[in-house]
Amino acid sequence: MRKNWWYALLLAPFLGLLYPPLYDRADPALGGLPFFYWYQLAWVIVTSLLLGIVYLATRERTRE
């Protein structure tokens, strides 16, 4: 049961993305992109990494 706690990591993208007032601003800009845009693009990468971590932590090694 302990390994299921890893799944809690997957809540992060929901919290980070589903309340737009959190990131709906222009500053700080990155490479000319307003915060609104690069913040959400960064979450794409972070979510991919989180999924990779949860996958590695929860997969059953005996199979496959």
Binding site: P13, L17, D24, L33, F36, W43, L51, G52, Y55, E64
Partner: protein
């Protein structure tokens, strides 16, 4: 014929050949339904990645998302959070669905519903919802395809693109008939490679030619402020809830669509599904970069009556002919791959869950029914796009998306709990479908058309949100009320459907 048109023709002809050759991939017996429709559930991580990427990130997406940003600004960027939070859902829900489907031999979402709840009505409700949602989606792929034909001009634009569309879809139907899911899977390799090359080149070259991102944002911000229907570089506070509910609602419905289910079930293990959940966001990044091209089109000073032309026109303006031809081929092939999978997925639903008796085994003639229905779906899409203005396909698609989300409770609750009665789920579904349809029609005005969002006013305060999401709340309330009513009656051993 210019070099762009030649490159375009060569690439499209090449994938057509691949589509037919795919029948020989893996030397399978394609007279078996599961081989034709799901490629025998044998795809590993790499093939699945290309197939799912080619399937979910459709040509229409790559044309319509930048078009939305070109027209309205920040609100169109909801596609990025949508295509991000969809993957934790895939990782948990769809990997679980894959496991039960493999164990019990399900080929569709409605197969699972029938087996799980023993309800023929709920099975048919789920199947019909999937088919209805897939129909306009196929039509919109044709819209994406026609955009490219307009851009290419010459013989491609003959008869407002009708001739080229008919040829393209006849060929698509032919190789889907012979090769089944293997055709789009093989073609997806070409499609995705072309899309990556085109988009990466575009986001390097176009912003540089337009003076950098800071300049693009400054210019487009000024242009938006001056427009008759103002757009916004940042989200206006009144649209926060709409933005969040559009992202969440779309993410929850993405994997209920028949084409998503079909591609997912073709994976060879649940771990392939989980690995893909971690790897598919690469396409979301691509989509996000592509979305920003909508602002490039504003900064470039394009004045388009059809915003869908924003991306093809950017390629035509800033790249040599042959490269624009390749980008156009990427979009065109990007329409054909998902269209084939959508036709197969909805044909599976019809053949497995509507046609034939209520039984856990498929009728022996199901594959023939599926193949003919697959042809019928392609023909429907073609006729719809040729006979009606594009806006009807878009309205139908908006409705389809809101309907699709209404099977979310049956699907997800069915996977994780046994507490709900099929009659209660059916009541929730019917309420959600009616609420979605009613709200969508209520937003319609001749001037602005139909809107994905509706403003509800409750106790004096109003909130603008995604129709599909509001309908899902109505669905959940009806489900809970119906559950209370049903649980008060004596327990039934065999649920009637």
């Amino acid at each position: 014929m210019n070099s762009g048109a030649i490159v375009f023709l060569v690439l499209v002809a090449g994938v057509t050949v691949l589509g037919f050759l795919a029948a020989g991939w893996g030397r399978a017996d394609l007279t078996k339904f599961e081989e034709w429709a799901l490629s025998g559930r044998r795809f590993g991580t790499v093939v699945s990645w290309f197939l799912l990427g080619g399937d979910l990130y459709t040509a229409y997406t790559f044309v319509a998302v930048p078009a939305l940003i070109y027209g309205a600004g920040a609100i169109g960027f909801f596609a990025v959070p949508y295509a991000t939070i969809a993957y934790p859902i895939v990782f948990v829900v769809l990997a679980r669905f894959w496991e039960v489907s493999r164990a019990r031999g399900y080929m569709t979402s409605a197969d699972f519903i029938r087996d799980r709840f023993g309800s023929r009505s709920l099975e048919i409700a789920v199947a019909i919802t999937g088919i209805l949602a897939a129909m306009p989606y196929i039509a919109l792929q044709l819209v994406g395809l026609r955009t490219v034909f307009f851009q290419l001009g010459g013989i491609f634009a003959y008869g407002t693109g009708a001739a080229a569309l008919i040829v393209a879809f006849a060929v698509l139907a032919a190789y889907t008939w012979t090769s089944g899911l293997r055709a789009p899977a093989l073609i997806a390799f070409v499609k995705d490679t072309l899309i990556y090359v085109a988009v990466i080149a575009a986001v390097i070259v176009i912003p540089a030619k337009l003076g950098g991102w800071a300049h693009i944002f400054a210019v487009s911000s000024a242009a938006f402020a001056a427009a008759p229907k103002p757009g916004h570089i940042l989200l206006p506070p009144g649209l926060s809830f709409a933005y969040a509910t559009m992202a969440l609602g779309s993410a929850c419905s993405l994997f209920l669509y028949p084409h998503s289910i079909t591609s997912l079930l073709a994976a060879k293990s649940a771990n392939v599904v989980r690995r893909n959940a971690a790897l598919l966001p690469a396409y979301s990044l691509l989509l996000g970069l592509m979305a920003l091209l909508g602002l490039c089109a504003v900064a470039a000073g394009f004045h388009l009556t059809d915003p869908n032309l924003a991306v093809p026109l950017l390629f035509a303006t800033y790249f040599p002919d042959w490269f624009a031809g390749m980008a156009n081929a990427a979009i065109a092939i990007g329409a054909l791959v998902p269209a084939a999978i959508m036709a197969i997925g909805s044909a599976n639903l019809f053949a497995s869950n509507i046609f034939g008796e209520f039984s856990s085994t498929r009728a022996p003639g199901a594959i023939h029914v599926a193949k003919w229905l697959c042809m019928a779906m392609c023909a429907f899409g073609l006729i719809f796009v040729l006979a009606f203005p594009v806006k009807y396909a878009i309205y139908f698609q908006l409705l389809g998306g809101a309907w699709m989300l209404q099977i979310f409770p049956s699907f997800v609750l069915g996977l994780f709990t046994k507490r709900f009665h099929p009659a209660a789920l059916l009541a929730g579904w019917a309420t959600g479908m009616a609420a979605a349809t009613w709200m969508a029609i209520a937003t319609y005005t001749p001037a602005t058309g139909m809107s994905p969002n509706v403003t509800l006013t409750v106790f004096g305060s109003s909130l603008t949100g995604f129709i599909a999401f509001y309908a899902l709340i109505a669905n959940a309330i009806a489900l809970l009320l119906a559950s209370i009513v049903i649980n008060r009656r004596p327990l039934q051993t065999t649920p009637s459907g």
